[in-house]
Amino acid sequence: MGHGERTAFENPVIEWIDSRLPIFTMMQKEYGVFPTPKNFNYFWNFGAIAMFMLVTMIVTGIVLAMHYTANTHLAFDSVERIMRDVNGGWLLRYIHMNGASFFFIAVYIHIFRGMYYGSYKRPRELLWILGVAIFLLMMATAFIGYVLPWGQMSLWGATVITNLFSAIPLVGDSIVTLLWGGFSVDNPTLTRFFALHYLLPFVIFAVVFIHVWALHITGSNNPLGIDTKGPQDTVPFNPYYTIKDSFGLVVFLMLYALFIFFMPNALGHPDNYTPANPLVTPAHIVPEWYFLPFYAILRAITFSIDIPFTDITIITAKLGGVIAMFGSILLWFVLPWLDSHPIRSAKFRPVFRYFFLLLLADFIFLGYVGSQPADATMFGLPLSVFGLGATAYYFAFFIVILPWLSKHEKGRELPASIHEAVLAKNKKKAVEISE
């Protein structure tokens, strides 16, 4: 982004602009010749895919906002007007509605890829931290977005989640009043949520810009987790990764299209097609699927922490749940310091790999627990017991296992360079084919 050496462009118009504002030089440097490790697998597509989803959400969202009415008496009907009377309205809304899910799918894969290959480690700590910030902003945006159609799950989901803040000692109730703009989730809540739902995506966009900027300072990690040592390890971003990302994106879009066109409501909840009614509580309030693991952690804490032999409660069960839920994500911010093992990629850390894959299964299981009613059972035991166990493993992984492994895991020998590893792999493949 600096204004260092600049090679002149042949096209006089481009040259005229570039000599005044070197935007073409920058694009050329950051997306044209940008040296990128040549050994990426398809998990490295999901950054670009997430970016595409963000833009899709912003574009469809702006058009939807032209037709939407943020008023508790009109919001639900205005969404139905979009579905029925606006030209292509159903398409826009289903793209946006399922887009939230697919944005999260892309970002979850992106995050867990980063964890698996140690992309958070030195020198990419800040890049990782910015990513976690983006994830938190996405959660906030998605949550308030789900409130806008003003169905039953909008209202009651909003009521449950905003009520969580009341667990915070001293200021909790004031925070809740501020979120609500009154004393319950009502019209002032809806209007401020709409304003914020329009604002936050642009904040996300800005943080994504910084995230990508940071990426271009350190360069990308790669499946081997070793540094690039020279031009033999890299390929220019264009055309190699522009084409690979495009191919991955189109495959992803096929899955996305499958949902938009053939099961647009499969990821939603039927209750949100019933207009919000403060007098009728749905039997089973569940958040959107992408929040379920965290919802399970919230509900796993059903005990308070007391001072023994007194009536004094230090942390109520509710506050405990809130701390656990937010803590489970805030831990990601310090992940680079919890895991200080010098090897990045799980490929060369078999023990870490084992515990990490267990964490992944644990996270998906937590999602299942979060989707079930509070009184559900499994193998004759209350499901909440399993929820607590899964929550315990989640925290143990970050707080106990990672620091312990950092000190004690020996790890495998690293290849000398990306180039050599790729050559060795190709040779092995060639031998297999000739056999």
Partner: protein, 252 residues
């Protein structure tokens, strides 16, 4: 790799949507074979027209379909004259006129179906519980059209140990079994002009299909669009794959 992603997505979808579909304790409604299900399914126009007839003759005395306009009925295979004629059978309140008075006039295709009650309290006063608007009922219930079919065919005598209060009825497929609506359909109640059998099951199927259309009138356009979109994307993906192979040929 692609396989891993696909199976991951499959696991995630099953884990999250399957439990959401099971509604606690009550038997799942029977699985009707709907013409509109599947990637190529379309609505059966004759069934939709019969369903409209049932809605108009039975359901509409208590249930509104406020998101539907008469003009939408062209989707059912009626021409504009027929739609005009159907609309004209209804009276709507319009105004205020030049003198500031509200007045009544026959409905036009651009009007929405008038609701049976002026407001929710009136609906509640007349029925004990306000009958839900039906324009989105199929999308607002687990099991969708099967649920509607189940409710309409699931009336039974209450078990002995389960006395019902006044205005309560027993339904096999209602979550919690107790429903405020009395059994609305009986054999031969509505006359079909096309010779279709006049049974409760047939009525229930027809009106459930009509309500499925009311919930999702653009279903057919959506699926058509989806087929073209997927074909386009598949071809595009194939081209990109070949291109990617060509570009990467000399690396390594």
């Amino acid at each position: 790799m692609k396989k891993t992603l696909l199976s991951l997505l499959a696991v995630v979808t099953c884990a999250y949507s399957a439990p959401a579909l099971a509604s606690g304790g009550t038997e799942a409604p029977p699985h009707v074979h709907w013409e509109f299900s599947g990637p190529f399914g379309t609505y059966d126009r004759a069934a939709l027209q019969r369903g409209l007839k049932i809605y108009r003759e039975v359901c509409s005395s208590c249930h509104a379909v406020k998101h539907l306009a008469f003009r939408n009925l062209t989707d059912l295979g009626y021409n504009e004259e027929q739609v005009k004629a159907i609309a004209a059978e209804y009276t709507v309140t319009d105004g205020p006129d030049e003198d500031g008075e509200m007045f009544e006039r026959p409905a036009r295709p651009s009007d929405r179906f008038p609701s049976p009650y002026p407001n929710e309290n009136a609906a509640k006063a007349a029925n004990g519980v306000a009958p839900p608007d039906l324009s989105l009922i199929v999308k607002a219930r687990h099991h969708g059209a099967n649920h509607v079919f189940g409710i309409l065919t699931g009336y039974e005598e209450a078990p002995e140990d389960h006395p019902l209060a006044d205005g309560q009825h027993w339904n096999k497929y209602m979550p919690g079994h107790v429903i405020a609506m009395a059994k609305p359909l009986s054999n031969g109640q509505v006359t079909y002009e096309d010779g279709t059998i006049e049974t409760v099951e047939q009525y229930a199927q027809d009106v459930a299909q009509f309500l499925a259309w009311a919930s999702e009138p653009d279903l057919e356009a959506r699926k058509r669009f989806g087929i073209s979109a997927l074909i386009f994307l598949a071809v595009f993906a194939g081209v990109m794959y070949r291109l990617k192979k060509a570009v990467w040929k000399d690396v390594h």
